[in-house]
């Protein structure tokens, strides 16, 4: 029997078909690991160039088998790095949003500030890392500062753009209802700018981990970046891969959390996945 041709408007394909990607992704992972394993064994690649996946796995298991306060385990150092990244991300984003709104709210401030913003933005922020070690020492403070500086810019730029994107009619509407400036900021401007702010947060969530790692490279007593340097120097490449894996996973989880929050708060904005723009 023939089905009616056009009567399939509201597509309700089974979940397994709609989210076929959830099935394909793990398959791709397994295939990649298999190829990796095959290559290392078949071509007898030295273990200090590319360790086989099993070695990396063993290193991960060993690293995670000790408690979170044991300096010989991964949990401790991952905790340090992600705490630095998280705190820097939080501070940098917050200051970026607040300053972005302040800059955008006044033509004068904006005109004065833009050249500085552009000049500072074109400076590679990681180049500040050595200086920050001198200022803040080898502790976590310098890492938080550099992470803040790195995450600050995407949020500054995006919240300025977000502020300017607000439909002036929305502001007129609020004013016609005797809204106070604070009400306009809180109930009109901030929510209207959220899609832009989230585009900034998406970028910043990736940059935050980069900032913490670079900070640790330059000088640190703990953290995954410091571990990487140590393992590298002693040619222990399997744990290097293990740490890289932890970093990738951490970045992925952080970014997923941001996106989940975005879907909740900006459900009304039909925006395709943001392209990096900072």
């Amino acid at each position: 029997m023939k089905e009616p041709a056009t009567n399939t408007k509201p597509r309700t394909r089974p979940f397994m078909l709609r989210r076929i990607d959830l099935l394909v992704s793990p398959v791709v992972l397994i295939a990649l690991v298999a190829v990796w394993h095959f290559v290392t064994v078949r071509f007898a690649i030295p273990i200090f160039i590319l360790p086989p996946p099993l070695d990396v796995w063993q290193s991960l298991v060993a690293g995670f088998s000790v408690g979170p306060f044991d300096r010989s385990g991964f949990l401790y150092h991952a905790g340090v790095t992600f705490a630095e990244a998280g705190l820097g991300f939080f501070l940098g984003s917050l200051v970026g949003i607040v300053l972005g709104f302040i800059v955008a709210s006044s033509k004068l401030i904006e005109r004065v500030a833009i050249p500085y913003i552009v000049a500072f933005q074109s400076l590679p922020k990681v180049a500040l890392a050595p200086l920050l070690v001198i200022w803040f020492g080898f502790g976590y403070e310098g890492k938080v500062v550099i992470t803040s500086v790195i995450t600050f810019f995407p949020l500054l730029i995006n919240s300025i753009a977000g502020y300017h994107s607000v439909d002036p009619d929305r502001i007129d509407l609020a004013r016609s209802c005797n809204a106070s400036s604070l009400q306009i900021l809180w109930k009109i401007i901030l929510p209207s700018s959220l899609p832009y702010i989230f585009a900034g947060l998406n970028i910043a969530s990736v940059l935050a981990i980069l900032g913490a790692i670079v900070g640790e490279f330059v000088g640190a007593q703990s953290g995954l970046g410091m571990l990487l340097m140590q393992y590298n120097q002693s040619m222990q490449i399997a744990p290097v891969f293990a740490v890289l894996f932890i970093l990738a996973l951490g970045g992925f989880l952080a970014n997923s959390a941001i996106r989940a929050l975005e879907r909740r708060l900006c459900f009304w904005a039909q925006r395709s996945a943001p392209v990096a723009e900072a």
């Binding site: 929305r170 509407l173 609020a174 016609s176 005797n178 809204a179 109930k187």
Partner: protein, 270 residues
């Protein structure tokens, strides 16, 4: 910002005028010098009257409406609204914009109650009125939908409800149906008159459409550009309630022809 009102012309009969404008001028500072958007505009709007404001693009209709709403400072002249000198926005005015301007993160009912929220009134006490008004415009059952789930016409009706929720005596509408297709637009006109008939607000309705202006109004203010002035006020002596069939009558056609002639004689073709 708002000029002193000490010398409002007393000679004019202001017994039942809800809006009195005298010699209102508005100059914008533009990059190319100064733009005179309004040049000595004077008029009265009586309580409960439906006024249409027609004119070519750029003649200052939106400017005038924003000034009346208290959203825009004016450069000269005096304005009284609801018997008091105009001091800014107030709850005696509801504003409807060309686009619905609904906040997409709020449901329809939350959007409609926004004015009461901004004025820190108890929203709950307006809830029933909001529901009734939504029902009146055919949006019963859509209270908890989000704006993007509604058609353009439905959104604009919700925005009219938002303007009416505090029962303001004055309704200012800036080309509210300009973005709608011709058929929806006619329906909205009929519906607007039905709402107006039920609670007799004073309405100032800006439009580009000559037919719309005649169909809706008690009086049509015809504006001309450069500088923005009211060229003529035309009394529309058509019976109410108005019906769409009237648009094809000769009487209606004469008003439309008259307005068209006025607009064209000033060299403004829009």
């Amino acid at each position: 910002m708002y000029p002193d009102v000490a010398e409002v012309a007393q000679s004019v009969d202001s017994t039942s005028s809800i809006i009195e404008a005298r010699d209102v001028t508005k100059r914008y500072a533009a990059s190319s010098g100064e733009v005179v958007a309004l040049d000595g505009v004077s008029f009265d709007v009586r309580d409960g009257e439906f006024i249409s404001l027609v004119g070519p693009s750029g003649c200052g209709k939106s400017t005038l409406l924003k000034i009346l709403a208290g959203l825009l400072p004016y450069s000269g002249g005096t304005i009284k609204r609801s018997g008091a000198p105009l001091k800014g926005p107030g709850s005696d005015v509801g504003m409807v914009f060309q686009t619905p301007v609904l906040l997409p993160w709020r449901t329809i009912i939350e959007n409609v109650l926004l004015p009461t929220e901004f004025r820190r009134l108890n929203s709950d006490s307006y809830l029933q009125r909001a529901r009734d008004l939504l029902a009146l415009v055919g949006l019963a059952g859509f209270e908890n939908r989000y704006p993007h789930e509604l058609s353009g016409g439905m959104q604009q009706r919700a925005s009219i409800v938002r303007a009416l929720v505090q029962d303001p005596p004055i309704l200012l509408m800036d080309e509210p149906f300009g973005a709608l297709d011709a058929m929806t637009r006619e329906q909205m006109n009929v519906e607007l008159l039905r709402i107006w008939n039920q609670n007799r607000k004073t309405v100032v309705f800006v439009t580009h459409s000559i037919a719309e202006s005649v169909f809706l109004a008690d009086r049509v203010f015809v504006m001309t550009a450069r500088p923005g002035q009211i060229a003529e006020v035309i009394d529309i002596d058509l019976p109410r309630p108005r019906e769409l069939s009237m648009i094809n009558t000769e009487h209606f056609g004469r008003y439309a022809t008259r307005i068209r002639a006025l607009l064209h004689s000033k060299g403004d073709l829009s």
